[in-house]
């Protein structure tokens, strides 16, 4: 019964989304607050409908109701509760429902919460969100309803791929989807602004919190996914430039560019058209990702079940939404008033350069992902664009933009003193240079590019801190005064500094880990040893470690350095009887910034007939910075979001900008 009610609620949500679009458009055209208000009510109703369907599916999963096709295909009675819940968004259909939940949820938030928005802009934005909601809900209802019943329900479900039964993977889609779909609000506000023909500082101020929140959520989502790949897939890699990874990276890069250009629009009224363009692009990339992952046009290790018909439908939705948005842009953007002027050396120029390089970088990712398809369609021959392509194009482009990053925040708006900014950074640059040389001298084999990478990361950290020190006039005023100044810095400034430091931390970790990872693989019997860099690994014992829905054997491996035990690794090998599939459970130790990463391989017969196990181990130095860095970035986003100047719906805010000091 719940599944039928859920299906009904989903259809109701579709109808309400259509009503939301229709009523809001009517309200906007007739200038009627009552009609617009009805549209807002419909937005809230659409969200409640999708939420009901979502929980109906969750109940079906939790109670193992195998008469629901989706549950029968993706769940099993013996599966732990967490993965039954995560099973809701583990499949194509379920994940689309999560997408719709986020889409209508954000629609309801602007409809009910956007009090500070002008009535006409708000009605247009709610209408746009309604159209998007109707498109995706129509897809969910007609092509991918996860609540469809089976005529002959099986006694037991097929369960979920064991690789996906992992706590990090279970929580990663909600973050990712909230980030992807958060961009829909940015898109709707952009479309609304184009319709109203007014893009100014106030508009940028409404867009920024949404862009910031989506960006932060997407950052967390991608990081969780990357961390999952790192420790679950057992190859110790964290980014493979796989098309599906790229699909999540493109909206992130577009959002990064948007955040920076929206600052210029907000503070200086410039780059308005470009900011709108990026706002449209960010959500277009989100939709492109949804299409690529589900259509099967790409070869990827992570793709969902392939379905060409659904792929065509998603491509049509993408075409309608992106075509509509960019068509409107082409029509209206030329009539937008030009914004504030700025000198060649200024904060504005620094942010334009950021946008230029990030746009080139996102183009690289887009080309690397789609070029093989385009080439195959045009000439029929297949080409691969693997990691080496991205390392040669994306990496140098990003390195250049990161090199100039610390200078930007020290430049004044409108017209700046470049020499003055550089003078304030000499100490930071010196530390970075020393770090690069030290890293080059201390590590074997000596790798110049990796050392430059580490130096670049240190430069981002020290350069960002130098900017904070400069703001506090540290060293030029008494320490108490400097601290008082630090305390009075707006949260937005702290957020920016943290985000930039996070980038630096990531770059240090990524450069170090990639260049100086140490790998070892040997077959070990009980009591045998192998060496891994400065460490000795001794296999102590192997025993059974069965779980609720798998059989397993687990090894105890003692990791020692100079005869002292550092930690004990407990890698395991699991066999899932339902799927007849073997997986390995990696063990990572010790606590700290570097990982000893141990994988237990298959059991073999040793020379004397005794059992031996293939043990692979990596010493991944500073690898935790790779995941820590992005989390620092997301934290920066969250802190910036808590800045009261960015809160939505504060009526007094409109009067404040005049009183703020220029930053």
């Amino acid at each position: 019964m719940t599944a039928e009610l859920g299906s009904f609620a989903l259809v109701l949500a579709l109808v309400l989304s259509l009503a939301q679009a229709g009523l809001s458009i009517a309200g906007r055209v007739r200038g009627s607050a009552a009609l617009a208000g009805a549209g807002e009510g419909a937005a809230a109703g659409a969200f409640l409908g999708v939420a009901f369907a979502f929980f109906a599916l969750m109940i079906a999963f939790v109670t193992s109701d195998f008469s629901v096709a989706n549950v029968a295909e993706n769940s099993h009675t013996a599966k732990p509760l967490l993965y039954k819940i995560a099973g809701v968004w583990g499949s194509h259909d379920g994940s689309m429902l999560l997408w719709c939940l986020a889409l209508t949820g954000f629609g309801a938030v602007i409809a009910l919460g956007g009090e500070g928005l002008p009535a006409r802009l708000k009605a247009s934005a709610v209408a746009t969100q309604g159209v998007l909601g109707a498109l995706f809900l129509a897809y969910a209802v007609f092509a991918s309803n996860p609540l469809i019943r089976l005529a002959n329900p099986p006694v037991e479900g097929a369960s979920m791929n064991p690789v996906l039964q992992d706590p990090f993977l279970a929580i990663h889609p909600p973050f990712l989807y909230a980030g992807y779909v958060g961009m829909s609000v940015v898109y709707s506000l952009a479309v609304a602004a184009l319709i109203e023909g007014r893009i100014d500082a106030a508009w940028a101020r409404w867009v920024r919190p949404w862009a910031l929140a989506s960006w932060s959520l997407l950052t967390i989502g991608i990081t969780l996914g990357s961390f999952w790949a790192y420790y679950e897939l057992g190859w110790g890699g964290w980014w493979a430039w796989d098309p599906v990874e790229n699909a999540s990276f493109m909206p992130w890069l577009a959002a990064t560019a948007l955040l920076h250009s929206a600052v210029v629009t907000e503070k200086r009224g410039a780059l308005a058209a470009w900011t709108v363009f990026l706002a449209l692009t960010a959500f277009t990339f989100s939709m492109l990702g949804a299409f690529l992952v589900r259509s099967g046009v790409l070869m990827s290790v992570h793709a969902f079940a392939v379905s060409p018909k659904r792929g065509m439908l998603l491509l049509s939705i993408l075409g309608v939404a992106a075509g509509g948005g960019f068509g409107l842009f082409a029509w209206r953007a030329p009539s937008l008033p030009p914004g504030g002027l700025f000198a060649p050396i200024s904060r504005e120029t620094a942010l334009v350069i950021n946008n230029l390089f990030v746009s080139a970088a996102v183009t690289t990712v887009l080309l690397g992902t789609l070029y093989p398809l385009i080439r195959q369609a045009l000439t029929g021959d297949m080409a691969s664009f693997g990691p080496p392509y991205f390392n040669l194009t994306f990496t140098p482009l990003m390195a250049m933009v990161l090199l100039i990053l610390p200078i930007g925040p020290l430049l004044a708006w409108k017209r700046a003193d470049l020499l003055g900014a550089l003078q304030r950074l000499w100490a930071a640059a010196l530390i970075a240079l020393a770090a690069a040389l030290l890293v080059l001298a201390l590590n074997h084999p000596a790798k110049a590019f990796a050392a430059i990478g580490v130096g670049l990361g240190v430069w981002l950290v020290t350069g960002s801190l130098a900017e904070v020190a400069d703001r506090a006039r540290l060293g030029r005023v008494r320490i108490g005064e400097a601290l008082r100044r630090l305390g009075r810095l707006p949260r937005g400034a702290w957020g920016m500094t943290l985000a930039h430091v996070g980038v630096g931390v990531f770059v240090i970790g990524a450069s170090f880990e990639t260049a100086w990872r140490v790998e070892a693989a040997r077959t070990l019997g009980i009591g045998d040893q192998m060496s891994l860099g400065a460490y000795q690994l001794t296999l102590k014992r192997v025993g059974p470690a069965d779980g609720p829905n798998f059989e397993a054997e687990r090894a105890l491996i003692s990791v020692t350095k100079d005869g002292r035990e550092v930690c004990q690794a407990t890698p395991a090998r699991r066999f899932y009887p339902v799927q007849r599939q073997t997986t390995s459970k990696v063990s990572i130790c010790p606590p700290g910034l570097s990982d000893i990463y141990v994988v237990l391989g298959d059991r073999r017969d040793g020379p004397a007939g005794q059992p031996v196990w293939l043990v692979r181990a990596y010493w991944n130095r500073l690898s935790r910075l790779i995941f820590g860095g992005p989390l620092i970035m997301a934290l920066g986003g969250a802190i910036s979001l808590s800045d009261r100047r960015l809160r939505i719906g504060l009526p007094q805010r409109a009067a404040r900008p005049v009183l703020e000091p220029a930053e």
Binding site: V163, L298, V301, F304, V306, T364, L367, A383, P387
Partner: protein, 148 residues
């Protein structure tokens, strides 16, 4: 119930990095390192999207054997790559060649940056006007705002 094909592919990723298996290693560590570096640039053509360094597939194992044998026989990286392309087509190279057909993919990102910088430089060479003086329309608008 069938397992979704995509997920089945993912499952194949598992038993991984077989490239490191001590049984297959070359005795000369220098040659082995060269072979491993090559593995990372060669696609396991039957897998979803993996290099032969990562894949456990039968074909990946054969390819590893081929590459190791050729490295041991003293062939250069370029020769080995050429051999593989002849046999399996360009698709096998994870690093696309710089050919006319691929030029757009290699050059577009850099063209964007160069074009963008050119626009910025041209704009910079034009004397910045209007920054401090107002146009008549702006004067009129101020007057309207002040008086209205």
């Amino acid at each position: 119930m069938r397992l979704a094909p995509g997920l089945a592919a993912l499952a194949a990723v598992f038993c991984l990095a077989a490239a490191a298996d001590p049984r297959d290693r070359l005795s000369d560590p220098g040659q082995e390192a060269r072979a491993r570096a090559l593995f990372q640039q060669i696609r396991c053509v039957v897998c979803q999207n993996e290099s032969i360094d990562d894949s456990e597939a039968e074909l990946a194992r054969d390819l590893r054997q081929t590459v190791r044998a050729q490295v041991a026989a003293g062939r250069s990286d370029a020769e080995i790559r050429r051999f593989l392309v002849q046999r399996y087509g360009e698709f096998i190279l994870l690093r696309p060649r710089f050919s006319p057909a691929n030029a757009a993919a290699w050059l577009t990102p850099f063209a964007i940056v160069i074009g963008g910088v050119a626009v910025l430089v041209l704009r910079a060479r034009k004397p910045a006007t209007g920054g401090d003086t107002l146009t008549p329309e702006e004067e009129a608008r101020i007057a309207r705002l002040r008086d209205g």
